[in-house]
Symmetry: D2
């Protein structure tokens, strides 16, 4: 089980969110307050938009908590649209190409969850990737494969539809192999303009997802940053400990778009192929 965080608003330095709080993503990945929660020490990644058309990405296989490059970079990088991910592998090798977020052209994509019995389904799902996108695939995770399938299914033109068709394809493939509870996912996606998120699972019991509805709640991810704009919003995969303000649970089976501080939440359902 991984953890992730995404931010949209006026530019802030990443270290304000990632390092300078007692309940930062990175701090909690190491010192889980809940003994049952997983240590997220199997690599990490950050993705951000700055002055270039394509996002920046920095990933490594170390635990995020002991990577001094990450501290130095997060101290320099200022961005109004970024996401971060700490990983706990469920079997795929720990290598940079398996770390989130994944990027392709202007897109960033990250995932918490899994494709059930991935070993059984992987071959058929790989073959469903558009041949033109096939060479883009670098790693071996179910998450990157979902990203390639979503792009194959038209995510670049319509994010919600692309994700829904990807989910439908995974569920249909699973059904063909007799695999139950095919998909478990929270997703964070961006094209640099909007921040998208999805909470969904085949079994109807999805992993958690929360977003902020106003500037005050968002400030809790970095109380000392002092630079949050009125339209600053954040999404987190799991509640950060000691938060108290209005973090809104994303309902089961939902699709969210955040743009310029406006949060739109609509029901999400897979579209069968």
């Amino acid at each position: 089980m991984c953890r992730w965080l995404a931010y949209s608003g006026a530019p802030i330095f990443l270290d304000e969110v990632l390092f300078k709080t007692d309940h930062s993503l990175i701090d909690q990945s190491l010192h889980a307050s809940d003994p049952l929660s997983t240590t997220n020490g199997d690599g990490f990644g950050i993705g951000w938009y700055d002055k270039r058309d394509v996002p920046g990405v920095y990933k490594d296989i170390r635990p995020a908590w002991n990577d001094r490059n990450l501290q130095a970079l997060a101290n320099q990088i200022e961005s109004g649209m970024f996401m971060a991910h700490v990983r706990a592998t469920t079997g795929s090798p720990v290598q940079r190409t398996n770390c989130h977020p994944f990027s392709h052209e202007k897109w960033l994509f990250l995932h918490n969850g899994l494709i059930n019995q991935y070993d059984t389904l992987r071959r058929d799902l790989l073959l469903a990737i558009s041949p033109g996108l096939f060479p883009v695939l670098q790693g071996t995770t179910d998450s990157e494969l979902m990203f390639m399938l979503a792009l194959t299914c038209g995510m670049a033109g319509d994010v919600q539809s692309g994700i829904a068709r990807m989910a439908g394809l995974v569920e249909e493939t699973a059904a063909r192999h007799g695999v139950e509870d095919a998909l478990q996912m929270t997703l964070g996606i961006s094209d640099g303009q909007s921040l998208y998120a999805v909470r969904y699972s085949t079994e109807g019991n999805s992993r958690s997802l929360y977003h902020t509805a106003n500037r005050e709640a968002t400030m809790e991810i970095a109380p000392d940053a002092g630079r949050f704009s009125r339209d600053a919003r954040a999404i987190v995969s799991e509640p950060l400990s000691s938060l108290e303000a209005e973090w809104i649970p994303v309902p089961e089976a939902s699709f969210i778009e955040i743009a310029h501080g406006k949060v739109t939440c609509v029901p999400f359902a897979p579209i069968s192929p």
Copy 2:
């Protein structure tokens, strides 16, 4: 262009071959005597047979020449059947799962060469892997894919036939896509009993491969080891500098088996699917 070496004979310590000579594989990977030759700094690997049914494998993404773990391990590991590989990537990410040798059950497999226009052919070739072997695939190289295809084509029962059918499959797939000069390869393979090697390319102009025919020539890979048995034999992908003895060039399109000091060399031709 990678470089590799394989050994079969009485057990010797690996560092005698890998580190303790002026013209060792690792030394030459760094200080190439030929300015046109490539620096092999994109990862390395060793595979060896000892007391277990499966071989040991140690790979890392550093250049072999600066890895102190490799030095310490090569000083401890004693083996009568081992192989080593230094890599120069032609595009695949530098990660352990892309380093040679690849292993599966009792098999070791390494490769110098390439599948031409791999990006174009990769999808169809992946599709040809036996579904049962598909979950074994860990990386993204053409080399590991060739290993999986050879196993799919029955290499475990008949090595030469499995490799020939794999080569035929690659060439047939390339022809279907209009890709010329499909395959370029020297291969080193072992099941722990015999050492196999192949020299072949579609264009009939294969990368070099040499083997020793007697104890004296083999001793040149480790002049100070002083423990070579009468049946010690070695294979190298490229001539080590300053060697003078009887290193025999493997003829174009050949299949070699070395067992108990006996070297059998027969013509090799792909078998079309």
Copy 3:
């Protein structure tokens, strides 16, 4: 707070101890049963004696639990005298030269604990290292420095005396700087013949250390190995969960030597310089 384990007895494969039990060192480093205990994800190391005069050492900066090289090596390495360490840094960079065990000539040395206010004392303690040993120093930990000081203090001739003089030197240096509670340590040391361990802290409240007194208790570190000799003994820094047999707590301020199954435990006290 790190964790470590050491073994002396008939040769066994390392993976039997490190991987093949529910309460292995590596498993517990990730899934601590106690929520207050630290995640030991900041590198690891193993050291072992085999056929060479010097021990083998393998260290890396990843968490031990996701390193596939470690799994492959532990499956091949068979040893009758070995130790393993998983690290949680208290500030020193995570790099191989800071991972335990440290080695020099025939010696292996590992440590759980710390020199209090190391930043304050480090310079004076470095100065106390024998000039001849100074070039041996590779990393920046207090632990490696203690190893160099113990060698400087004659550990190679008399282990207990060398460690006692090292501890006295650290305490005297701390007193000079007004630093209290100078030293906190459990140590594991070997010359390939005997296994030595020390439990000591300036404040008289040392971190835990346990050893086995018979074959049956030792077998609990690898219940399925089935090859334990009558003289097999083990030392662990912290009790492995679910162990029930006779693991004997090492008394506060003790020095232990294990040789051929015989465990000698005597009081330990620093010797002032």
Copy 4:
């Protein structure tokens, strides 16, 4: 023998200099045109000034040529004062803390060269570091030690004097130990405002150093960047192949300061302690 490059001028993206030219620093580190030149595959680093008081630093132990993080970061980072270094170790372990540039507060520091018989002199030189700076030391190179000594000798107040006193201290220490040809160095230093460089060796036969005197010459380090300001200047440790414009060799024993396009070059001589 390492290679390095430094830039001062209007902000440009780092990838324009590091990746997008046929004769980039990184390209030449791999494909040396001179067969005698060293492969610089033992780690690398970049340092740059942006919006924060302290510089950003990114270092890793891989060869620069295969690090995809570096490519992604260099595509995002825009800076008007930066430096880059590719390393060929002469013995110190390959670890991030041994990669250049080194940073402390607002300072960046990198080095090509060596302290002769460093193992012999290291202990005395370490003891010459100001106790207040001692905890800043992270690695084990002669280069970082020279940085700490220069700061100890007042570099923060007067760069030329600090470096001259450091060089004098090294030479005096060497003389005491009977070590000849104590120091060999080209240095690149910045406080974010000025770019400083030194070319000096005890033997009077220093490694090369070149700078540009105008915008046109500087443009050769990134012909397609198209954004060079009139005051853009660069320093390189070794001539980039195929350069033709006015790259000015820095004279033996010189100290250079570049600020706002103005290059000041004065004689450099060590100051004895």
